[in-house]
């Protein structure tokens, strides 16, 4: 049991940050929502529709999109192809056996537009495995944006990105948030990021919901201070 009876509603236009120590169950919580792991009990609703029994791909088509904590791309395909595949998945033309890919210029154009947004257009012909780590992280985000789901789930999108690269991704998230009709879930360890972006923070600890509320309130609460930031340990450790 990695996540225990967490009940939450997420609303369009709101960015919810999920924090908690390593192994708290954040990624597992994402897995439950996007379907990588079936929940042993409990349900997941999207727009009031129960999607608990559905497969990953069905949930994706229903509007749940996610970027992975550990980069998870198509390593031997080009950058453009990676994004194009996502655009194609949405287009419903994927069982087309007979037309040449090059005849679907609209898909390519859309993919290129997205690469432009994440500033990867120049690398579009490059094979993903030759991409730098930071650029792979960007591509991970690009795939999610290409999917354009109702619910965006970012799992530590800036992890492993350098200080000057991270803002590109954060700006994109900000942009999405400004559209006001997307639900965004964000797992992030960097507190300054959370402070600027989050409308709400939920804290997971040992798989349970430890706190839930507006950023300022949550960060000040004892439970967070103790469980996550390690305050209060000083007393315990004093005698060591």
């Amino acid at each position: 049991m990695a996540v225990d009876a967490v009940t939450c509603d997420f609303h369009p236009g709101q960015l919810t940050a999920i924090v908690g120590p390593n192994g708290a169950g954040k990624t597992t919580y994402f897995n439950l929502i996007s379907g990588q792991i079936p929940a042993s009990a409990g349900r997941v609703f999207l727009h009031d529709r129960d999607i608990s029994g559905q497969s990953v791909s069905a949930r994706t088509r229903a509007g749940i999109g996610r970027a992975f904590q550990l980069t998870n791309l198509f390593p031997n395909l080009s950058v453009l192809e990676n994004v194009r595949l996502v655009v194609q998945a949405k287009s419903g033309r994927s069982f087309n056996l007979w037309s040449m890919v090059s005849r679907h210029g609209d898909l390519t154009a859309e993919a290129e537009a997205i690469l432009q947004r994440v500033r990867l257009l120049e690398q579009r012909e490059q094979v993903v495995s030759e991409l730098s780590h930071g650029n792979q992280r960007k591509l991970e985000v690009a795939l999610l944006i290409a999917l354009d789901p109702a619910v965006y789930m970012f799992d530590e999108p800036t992890a492993g990105m350098s200080v000057d690269e991270a803002p590109v991704v954060l700006d994109l998230i900000e942009e999405l948030k400004d559209q006001r009709n997307r639900t965004i879930l964000l797992v992030e360890h960097k507190m300054d990021v959370i402070r600027t972006l989050a409308d709400r923070i939920i804290v997971l600890h040992n798989g349970a919901l430890a706190a839930d509320g507006p950023p300022a309130e949550v960060m000040a609460s004892d439970v967070v201070q103790e469980a996550y930031m390690g305050r209060g340990l000083e007393g315990v450790l004093a005698d060591v």
Partner: protein, 240 residues
Amino acid sequence: MSDPILKLEGVYTNIAQYHILQGVDLQVPRAAVTMLLGRNGVGKTTTLRTIIGHWRAHKGRILFDGEDITKLPTPAIARLGLGFVPEDMGIFADLTVEENMVLAAVSGPINSARLDWIFAAFPPLKTFWKSEAGNLSGGQKQMLSIARAMVEERKLYLIDEPTKGLAPAIISTMARALKDLKDQGASVLLVEQNFAVAKALGDSANVMDDGRMTWSGEMQELATDAALQERLMGLSLEAH
């Protein structure tokens, strides 16, 4: 300071095409706890893995007890007297606690006095001695992982984030056990995100950023200088 038990000189480590460590210098003094600190992803774990030989330094030297171990295979390094507690604990889930411990006692049967000492430090291990390690809770796994390293006397312990996901009460037990080790004359290189623990345990500290050592000195000095912490590790949270 007497000659260090472990010395890294300009170590560079690549993982696939990523340049992770970019010239790490590090000295671990004898009979002391040396902290290795830094934000997520700066290369702390990679440093430990390079020392034990899981990753290969492709430049630079690693000296253990005066011997160059840079090119030695992992088992040979371990047999020189290194105990390793990996970030993911490396528990053999299919084996019982006992089997895990037996395996860790490389040179023969387990010394019963030492076992008693371990049981005293981590009582749950005695309770679950015959059960499968995979069924232990996270904290218990962490205890087992450290107990495995302690089951035989080693010259140097490499311990990666032993307190993550642990409840404060257990953290203090853990801290006490580590302190015991030090008092017995062992040397410890400890990676720790929890600054409170680091403060309580560390004798000296090394801070990494971007695959390099950015600061080395007495723990005392770092602990008392909030501005330095902020600069080195972005621990803005503390100042909040």
